[in-house]
Amino acid sequence: MNSTAATRPNGLALFILPSALLFALFFFLPIGLMAVMSVLTGNPVVMPKVAFTTRHYVRMIGDPFYLEVIWTTVRIGLVTTLVALAIGYPLAHWMARIKSRTGHALLLMAVLAPMLTGIVVRTFAWMTLLSDKGVVNETLMSLGLISQPLKLMYTETGIVVGLVHIYVPFMVLTLTGVIGRIDERLEQAAENLGASPLRAFLEVTLPLSLPGILAGSLLVFALAISAYVTPILLGGFQIMTLPILIYQQISANFNVGFAAALGIVLLVISLLLVVAYNRALGLVSGQRELQ
């Protein structure tokens, strides 16, 4: 009896097995393989003689084009995150504080509704809006505000617009949860002590919602730098980002090793952000235990 109890301390632990297997098989294994591929001269499955090499990484660092692609990807990610935060925070604050249940339901619907449509569909919708003869340009020109169509499509601006639209819900939902848990009486206490509503927000609500801001930003940034469909359709291959480059390396150049190295770079950028996030959170919240 004792031995069985020792080997099976908790029957519930067995339930974790499927997800653990899934995680190992579809997460750690592929990433491990990708890491290995990125330092091999070729694909060991089709090429019997492969050797270890650092040439993929050397090529990336040596060629300004690839550094430019990495920087473009990061820049699009940062701008998308900041815009999503600027749009998402007020919306999330509103949603978290709204008293009316109907109002809350309507806001939630408004935030979630775009997610019910596929990314491709939404991106095509943006194409009809942003193209040179699209709704935005036609409207502005008919109003006489501009004489030449604005270059909205096939620019980073266009990509950011599309990405923000797609990822704002992630920002809003993350923030709403965090802001909703901040006691409204804290703001009232601040106002009672003489802080204007804006000051109370800046002194109390904003710092307390920092974990949500960081989590939402991290999520949106990671999704934005790995986005593929939107940069292709709205960038039209004029703007090169890491995911597009990776796809080209695999499907057109059959350079799996280089694609793997690019994938690792994408992964490292995300991981560095997670680490930075944890550090930042530790700094702002100190040893604070939430009651």
Partner: protein
């Protein structure tokens, strides 16, 4: 400088027509410890929040030292508030919490530091300046909240059930300290509580609220000894309430029980409710005869030992059940269930109630 508050016919009607506060009128005098007492949902907290400026009255006016502040935003009211859950800023230290109001007033750093130090000393929290609220006990958090509210020398201090979360011993200690502090600083203090003992122990005056209305305003002794309404008599302490028909100078409350009315109430006709506090009744072993109007025979139904006193429930011969409280005069003098007893009271102790 402490201020007086005038609440003039204030009502608060929420969307959907709920009348949380209904034509409340009362004056809080300068330097007074004033309690709003009532069951949950009676409108006491809403009234307090309207004084603080977190809610706007639907009608009526609130004046501080004669100046109408009904539509002045909360941050310009210069009032201190201690919240029920303390509402301490979790991301700031004790000292930063206390300094907040001073910082908002634009004081210089040296002045702030000195005032914070003095305020923390006043609530006996010196040495905990750098802790965060989550590292403090409930009692300590309460003191920080108090220090944060009084350090700005508010015109009025508002307290929303500030002691509700503390255990009984600590609560009594804090009651004593808060009262002392209030007297020492001469603060006008509006205190919301549902705990009648707390209100009776601390207040200079109490407003008993029910269903959004003020039932009675008075000193603790007035509220306890001369409740004017049935609700107040029932809500404050234990009481026996009788309702009956006037018959001459007496009240016939049915089931063979006649109560002699107090001398001031002997005139008149009709239906009347009266209250008689359990401790105003004397309990003696069954006497030969009972004087009609001021005594009755009964049998002890059960007893509730309170320590310093014993609360008896006595069933009278006619079937009325009456609560009687007697001081604990020693084991040999206590009654047990089943004992035949006689109740005696003084008609002047009967309090006539408005329904």
């Amino acid at each position: 400088m402490s201020a007086s508050i005038e609440i003039a016919g204030v009502s608060k009607v929420y969307d959907g027509g709920v009348r949380a506060v209904d034509a409340v009128a009362m004056d809080v005098r300068q330097g007074e410890f004033f309690s709003l007492l009532g069951p949950s949902g009676c409108g006491k907290t809403t009234t307090l929040r309207m004084i603080a400026g977190f809610e706007t009255p639907s009608s009526g006016a609130i004046r501080v030292d004669g100046a109408d502040i009904t539509h002045v935003p909360a941050h310009k009211r210069d009032m201190g508030m201690v919240f029920q859950n303390y509402a301490l800023f979790p991301h700031r230290t004790v000292a930063e919490n206390v300094a907040f109001g001073l910082r908002m007033r634009g004081l210089d750093k040296a002045t702030i530091a000195a005032k914070v130090k003095a305020a923390l000393a006043m609530v006996e929290l010196s040495g905990l300046e750098d802790r965060r609220p989550a590292q403090l006990s409930g009692g300590q958090q309460q003191r920080v909240a108090l220090a944060r509210a009084i350090v700005i020398a508010p015109r009025v201090l508002l307290c929303d059930e500030p002691l509700g979360a503390l255990d009984k011993k600590l609560r009594q200690q804090m009651q004593f300290e808060l009262k002392q502090l209030q007297k020492k600083l001469g603060l006008t203090l509006v205190f919301v509580t549902h705990d009648q003992e707390e209100a009776l122990a601390m207040s200079d005056r109490i407003a008993v609220m029910n269903g959004g209305r003020v039932e009675q305003v008075g000193t603790p002794t007035e509220i306890y000894n001369q409740p004017t309404t049935r609700f107040v008599a029932d809500f404050i302490g234990d009481t026996n309430i009788f309702r009956g028909e006037r018959v001459g100078p007496n009240l016939d409350v049915g089931k063979g029980l006649i109560l002699a009315l107090p001398p001031s109430e002997m005139q008149g006709t009709g239906v009347l409710s009266v209250a008689l506090r359990p401790e105003k009744i004397r309990l003696i072993p069954r006497a030969e005869s009972a004087a009609a109007g001021s005594s009755a025979h009964g049998i002890v139904e059960n007893t509730n030992f309170l320590g310093g006193a014993v609360l008896y429930r006595v069933e009278l011969a006619g079937g009325h059940r009456v609560l009687v409280q007697q001081p604990n005069a020693g084991t040999s003098r206590l009654f047990v269930p089943g004992n035949g007893v006689t109740l005696e009271w003084t008609p002047a102790d009967l309090v006539v109630l408005k329904d």
